[in-house]
């Protein structure tokens, strides 16, 4: 199994580094553009969430209420099959379980749509499977993605939003 990792600062400036890291991995292993795009999207949605809600935007670390430990944000990509990969996203921000995140109401007209709230939904829909664990003060989100096939519109593990 081929795997590679990157550590990120809680700063949107690092989004470009994350994007290049994913691009290199997908190119090296010949993953197709559709899968590459989905990996980019899932990882960006997670990273932007962690930066904005986990550590506070900018993540200077000395603001009131900031995480007491130094921020530790990491992405690990591993080739699991000839045509798929496992993405492990970890951070030591406050607990955030995507399974408990409410699903957006996609039937609302534009006027009533909230601005935002789609990121977690995109991650859930794009991944073939999703597993969340809070372990040793860290969020660990594991996604599996394979080439081909359609995203299945959100309802992972047969769970309904509470």
């Amino acid at each position: 199994m081929r795997a590679t990792s990157i550590r990120l600062r809680p700063d949107l400036d690092d989004l470009g580094r994350l994007q290049r890291f994913i691009r290199r991995f997908c190119d090296r292993h010949g993953l197709d553009e559709t899968l590459h795009n989905r990996v980019q999207l899932a990882c960006e949605e997670w990273f932007v969430n962690v930066v904005k809600h986990g550590f506070g935007e900018g993540g200077s670390g000395n603001a009131a209420g900031a995480a007491p430990e130094a921020p530790d944000i990491a992405v690990r990509l591993a080739l699991t099959r000839p045509d798929g990969l496992t993405i492990r996203l970890t951070d030591n921000g406050p607990p955030f379980n995507p399974d408990e995140h409410p699903l957006p109401d996609l039937s609302l007209p534009a006027e009533q749509r909230p601005i935002g709230g789609l990121g977690v939904y995109l991650i859930r829909t794009l991944a073939n499977s999703l597993h969340y664990e809070r372990k040793d003060g860290r969020n660990e989100l594991t996604l599996r993605m394979t080439a081909g096939g359609q995203p299945d519109n959100g309802s992972k593990n047969g769970e309904e939003p509470k």
């Binding site: 989004l15 559709t34 949605e45 932007v48 534009a110 006027e111 601005i115 789609l118 990121g119 995109l122």
Partner: protein, 111 residues
């Protein structure tokens, strides 16, 4: 990301090239707010050179819909590639604005 706004009759064509992500979306947001303030409420987004969109970009497109509708205007998209279409579809955005094949079709709908 490159942005280019070109007036066409009573419409404004906004060409977006590259990536519309968490870093670049604020620039599109500023541009849309500026255009709306200047009285442009019929916006055609030219997307044939847009490679990638994330929820940060969708957020700005929704803002454009809300802003223009509040002023009696409208938004249309054209030249949308498969990667962008997939994200619009998953997010239920295809019902928020017409997604058309050509500039002419978009301008027809907006006029």
């Amino acid at each position: 990301m490159n942005l280019n706004a070109t007036p066409h009759g009573n419409c404004m064509i906004i060409r977006i090239e590259g990536r519309l992500d968490g870093n670049t979306s604020p620039r599109l947001e500023q541009e849309i707010l500026r255009l709306c303030e200047e009285g442009h409420h019929r916006l055609a987004f030219e997307m044939d050179a847009l490679d990638y969109v994330s929820s940060a970009g969708l957020r700005v497109l929704l803002l454009a819909v809300k802003k223009t509708r509040a002023a009696g205007g409208r938004v249309a998209l054209y030249g949308v590639g498969p990667a962008i279409r997939e994200v619009l579809e998953i997010s239920g955005f295809l019902s928020l604005f017409p997604v058309l094949g050509t500039k002419e079709e978009a301008l027809d709908i907006l006029a």
